[in-house]
């Protein structure tokens, strides 16, 4: 249908309620006289109704918590790592240092009665800093899963810092949840664990499997050593009252 630009503009503005009284009179006259204009208005109204019906999207349930946490961390001064970095200057020593420090810091966090967000961030940040890369490489497929159900919500992210694979859990649960992370590839092995909150969590480690039992709002980091760059998977199973409620797989892609 052919309508001129003036008519199109008036119809658009009329639908948006952004039209003056004089323009409204002009538009009403055009609509009385032109079937093409009436059709254009009907089509445009249908489009706008479709867009309005699309609805708002719900942000991840833990997003506000993550934002406020990031703001708090930004207010603090960063811990000096330059002295440590200079001591671990050689690549081989850097890796060994990262491996050892990852274990030491992770165990220190677990054994401490006062687990702070600083400790959590220092461990995860330090692993990245000392492992020889200035940026962590993200694995594209399966690098993060989002969980959203009546029992549990949040995200689980897999990222790599050189030869340490970090699985970050950021979850909120309304009931006790058991999370089983299984990695059948023998080139994966447990390297450490860090948690933000100091209560309400149990961790069980056995060859090829780590089990977390949690309830409430919790953040964890699970460290796995990865000796080579071949692709592998970490299978996650979520249980509530012994009932399997979710299964997911995180993919490690060594080439990325």
């Amino acid at each position: 249908m052919a309508i001129d630009d003036r008519t199109s503009d008036l119809i658009n503005a009329g639908i948006d309620g952004e039209i003056s009284p004089g323009e409204r009179i002009e538009l009403d006259r055009i609509l009385r006289e032109s079937a093409a204009a009436r059709q254009y208005q009907a089509d445009l109204t249908g489009l706008c109704d479709t867009l309005d019906a699309t609805g708002e999207l719900a942000p991840p349930p833990h997003l506000q918590h993550a934002i406020l946490g990031a703001v708090k961390r930004r207010k603090r001064s960063p811990a000096p790592v330059s002295a440590v970095r200079s001591l671990l200057g050689l690549p081989m020593v850097r890796y060994a240092g990262a491996f050892s420090l990852g274990i030491i810091l992770a165990l220190a966090v677990i054994s401490s009665d006062r687990i702070s967000r600083d400790a959590f961030d220092d461990v995860t940040g330090l692993v990245g800093t000392l492992s020889g890369s200035t940026t962590e490489s993200m694995v594209p497929n399966g690098r993060m899963i989002s969980v959203s159900s009546s029992e549990i919500a949040g995200s689980v992210r897999l990222r790599r810092a050189a030869q340490i694979v970090v699985i970050d859990f950021d979850l909120v649960s309304s009931v006790p949840i058991e999370i089983v992370a299984e990695y059948a590839d023998p080139e994966f092995w447990f390297n450490g664990f860090a948690q933000l909150e100091n209560t309400g969590t149990r961790v069980f480690v056995e060859p090829g499997k780590v089990t977390l039992v949690m309830e409430g709002k919790r953040r964890y980091a699970l460290y796995l050593h990865r000796a080579n760059d071949t692709d592998a998977t970490v299978d996650l199973s979520f249980f509530a009252s012994g009932r399997l409620i979710r299964e997911e797989t995180l993919h490690f892609r060594g080439a990325d």
């Binding site: 199109s8 503009d9 658009n12 503005a13 948006d16 952004e18 089509d43 445009l44 249908g46 489009l47 706008c48 479709t50 867009l51 309005d52 019906a53 699309t54 609805g55 708002e56 999207l57 719900a58 942000p59 991840p60 997003l63 506000q64 993550a66 934002i67 406020l68 990031a70 703001v71 930004r74 594209p140 497929n141 993060m144 989002s146």
Partner: protein, 166 residues
Amino acid sequence: MAGNRHAFEVLVARYQKPVFNAAYRMLDSAEDAREVTQTVFLKAFEKLDTFDPKYRFFSWIYRIALNESINCLNRQKPLDSLDREPVSPTGGPAEQADDDQLNARVQAALMTLKPEYRTVIILKHFLDCSYLEISQILDIPEKMVKSRLYSGRQLLKEALVSSGLH
């Protein structure tokens, strides 16, 4: 306000949803939208001292959100567009399937628009801004807002017709 943590928490609670929605509609990725939303509020917190109270707060934060989203778009590699997690609108299970299909088609059509058209469509239809507010947020004349909005709608309609929705 810079030191007022409680006030900032109120702002986050009030604006995280529209900021997340704006970012998601621009980026078509829930993960990218989450990261952009976090960045937006971090920047807002750091720059609160520079906020000019003659403007409305939402205009300011929406501008940061759209700029960050465009920055994110510019940083993305082409293959990243294949790695998208679908996000469903809020609603009960009975409505979920229909909502998902509508949302997916509308979102796919949105992504066919150039960013300059997409931003105006998002501000008008998803954030319910007036022409004047859009003009202030994007710092463009109102005449240009209308031009981009009306042309964007036409392009969107063509994309939806192609997908069988209209």
